[in-house]
Amino acid sequence: MTIMGTPRLRKEDPKLLTGEGKFIDDIHAHGELWMGMVRSPHAHAKIQSIDTTEAAAAPGVHSVYTGAELQEMGLWVAPLPCAWPVTEDMVNPPHYPVAADEVRHVGDLVAVVLCDSRYGAVDAAELVEVDYEPLPVVASIDAAVTDAVMANTDISSNKAYSWALEPDPEAVDAAFAAADHTVVGEFVQQRLIPAAMEPRGVLAIPAPFGGDITFYTSTQVPHIMKVMLAATTGIAENKIRVIAPAVGGGFGAKLNVNPDEILAVTLANKIGLPVRWTETRSEAAFSTHQGRGQNQKIEIAADANGKILGIRVHLDADMGAYMMLLTPGVPLLGSFLYTGVYDVPAFGFTCDGYFTNMTPTDAYRGAGRPEASYAIERAMDLLALEVGVGPDEIRRRNFLAGGEAFENLETASTLVFDSGNYGPNLEKALKLADYASLKAEQQRRREAGESKQLGIGMCTYVEICGLAPSRALAGLNYGAGGWEHAMIRFLPTGTVEVVSGSTPHGQGHETSWSMIVADKLGVDPDDVHVLHSDTAHSPLGLDTYGSRSLAVGGTAIAMACDKVVDKARLIAAHQLEANPDDLEFDGGMFRVKGTPTAEIPIQGIAYEAFTAHNLPDGMEPNLQEQVTFDPENFVFPFGTHIAVVEVDEDTGGVTLVGYTAVDDCGPQVNPMIVQGQMHGGIVQGVAQALWEEASYDEAGNCKNPSFLDYLVPSPMEVPNMVLDSTVTPSTSNPLGVKGAGEAGTIGSAAAVINAVCDALSPYGVTDISMPATPQKVWRILRDAKGGEA
């Protein structure tokens, strides 16, 4: 390896830096019609009547359709897909793109206008008059659990499913019975708005003849989209081409199959004209799924020394109004991680999923794992307090394998962790952050009675990614596999095309894939061109989510390169009149060992394979190989994050003043890209800890849908982060790589809240809910000080 492992500037950048990158709203089709969305202002109501007369007469309006009319038109053959029915008896009432009789969250679609202009569509949508009969609303998990009100008149309980991971319940009970110490943490994972900077959008273009349809959509999952479009619209899959253009961030919010997407494709197909839509930012709180939304209870049983004996977890999870593509499965992705990086002899996890009258939830950066990491890492700090040792020491006492290196270790959550080496990672982070000095400064400020107190918090996380072994997904009742496909194609003139099923949206796949190929084939990375995100170019793929691209898709590319070299070796041997075993391949050149002058470059082989004039008997022409890689195990990145906060006791304001992270994602293909992923991921977790919350009132209105009051952090709120890494190769793939896209988010929220609690600990404060806003901190301090602020 010469190129892999070194920082390398991105191929993607020049286009994006000059405005040449084409995002969905930049692409137009002649004769296109804009969808104007008519959305419910009620969280739960019956639709009494809809009058579209005035809208239909508005300038530029092509047509107006209500949900009932669309239903009668037979535009869809199945409801919107949920690919993860986690239990056999999960309740999932049919959910169609436009409501016909009952709306179940604010923003639920009730009608759609087609108009010839961007502004005209919005104007006309406002002219549609809808009479609603409001129904009682379920606007919180707590309300859903009581079943006093149903979020959907077609169900008899808000509980959609109960799922359990309880390998040995008796062992868990025994652990708690034998415990010297027990701690209980009850945490709320507030709802979050993913807020990719590019709003979602669609453009469906029907062919004039023949029924083909080309669908541009701002998505992470064009391949999954194609399958699901065929399944829901009845349009033959081989008539559908899905293209994800430049995608302006995803974070999970663009992995769904949304009502607007089905609507655009079916309407375009029906009327024979292109149909488009771009959501507005404020609309996105209703038209794009949200993240998190869980009430967590975690209990730890430990012996007198703080060694964990057992862990028990229960979640109540907010599905929102509908089961979207992966909604019910998100909590399950976290279920295996509530034991963290610790040696836990007995473990039990249960989860109930509830319908509410709020925007549906689904994957958001980390999807289940940040929640799990938060719970166990907050609870470990509670255990440290209970036992009377430091947060670092309680972790050392409990690390899997005693904090030493391990491979393929089975854990109490039934999974086999591929590799780990937790002790050195923690020590490296403590040293890098200068933990001892930080504690000393904290003590100095406390003794001096300064108004700005320091808090230091840590999180030693492990996460599960590289989704995923198809058989493991089958065990979780997931509807698809977890393989990834790659093809490597030498062109006759010696450059290389890579066809990737992974679908980037900011991660720099073109750069990283070129580096892998360059190393494997001995070519210049600039001679490698990566095709992706268009089902016509890249017909097979399972796309990008769950930090899977490198561990699964990158591995497929590396393996396909190996196959190319294997075939090229046979051709080279034939041409050099040598035994294939006597050839060495290095730097793109085949040489006969011991005969340095007998050599032939792989580009020359590619040309020979193209002309096919002189190939070994029976060999197919061309130098092109493909691999579909289905890993045998997940990958389990880990790391230590240390957050330092300053809490202003006068105002309650929390400022993040320092952040150190030592992450281990195995060998890094492009360290520059890994660091970028960590930076962004960390800030998203910090944002959950300190600022962000999709806040709902009792009537089910999201109170802060715009960027005016949904507090995505600006450059002012975050400090520079100090990053380093350890390298523990995975046993799950031949590159030894692990994912890096979500780890930052998985590690950071707990570290920050542990720091805030640490700052407040002299007042006996042991917990604060997220986000730790100034108001919340001020009130907690006031109460802790006996009512005096």
């Binding site: 950048d13 830096l17 405005g19 040449e20 104007d123 900077m197 949206h505 900011g506 890209i673």
Partner: protein, 162 residues
């Protein structure tokens, strides 16, 4: 209500964009960002919000950074507007664009045009900013990918006290 009235008055808007005289007949309510994107097909300037919060639509008017979603095209008739498409010259990236590339100051690239425009404007007002001044100067521009670290580094590498 006839069509023209309902749609507002169509007006001819002339301005200089990236050094070229441009003209289009648009509704009087047309935002500058949509004039640039939908009528002049300069789609590098992006729309990330509807509350003037995110700065993805930042352009220069008369050399100063302005959020083009907050301005009607009709308000800046005759103005000299620069968009991201006008920054690279003769096939060479503008030094700020090059800095973003060198420092990995972008990931998905959606906020990037606005960031580059805001950052160049910032340096034209303060050629030698501190890190804190860069962060403060870019407060009106949001990025969800980078955590800002490499954006700040990019700007400091062009003209700051790094």
């Amino acid at each position: 209500m006839d069509q023209l009235t309902h749609r507002g008055i169509f007006v001819q808007i002339d301005m200089t964009v990236n050094g070229r005289a441009c003209s289009a007949d648009v509704e009087d309510r047309t935002l500058l960002v949509h004039y640039l994107r939908d009528h002049l097909e300069l789609t590098g300037t992006n729309v990330g919000c509807d509350t003037s919060s995110c700065g993805a639509c930042t352009v220069h008017i008369g050399g100063q950074s302005v959020k083009s979603c907050t301005v009607l095209a009709a308000q800046v008739r005759g103005a000299d507007v620069t968009t991201i498409e006008g920054m690279a010259t003769d096939g060479e990236l503008h030094p700020m664009q090059e800095a973003f590339r060198q420092c990995h100051g972008l990931q998905c690239g959606y906020c990037t045009p606005g960031m580059v425009m805001a950052a160049t404007s910032l340096l034209s007002e303060n050629a030698n900013p501190t890190e804190a001044e860069v962060r403060e100067g870019l407060e009106g521009n949001l990025c969800r990918c980078t955590g800002y670290q490499n954006i700040v580094k990019s700007v400091l590498s062009v003209g700051g006290q790094s």
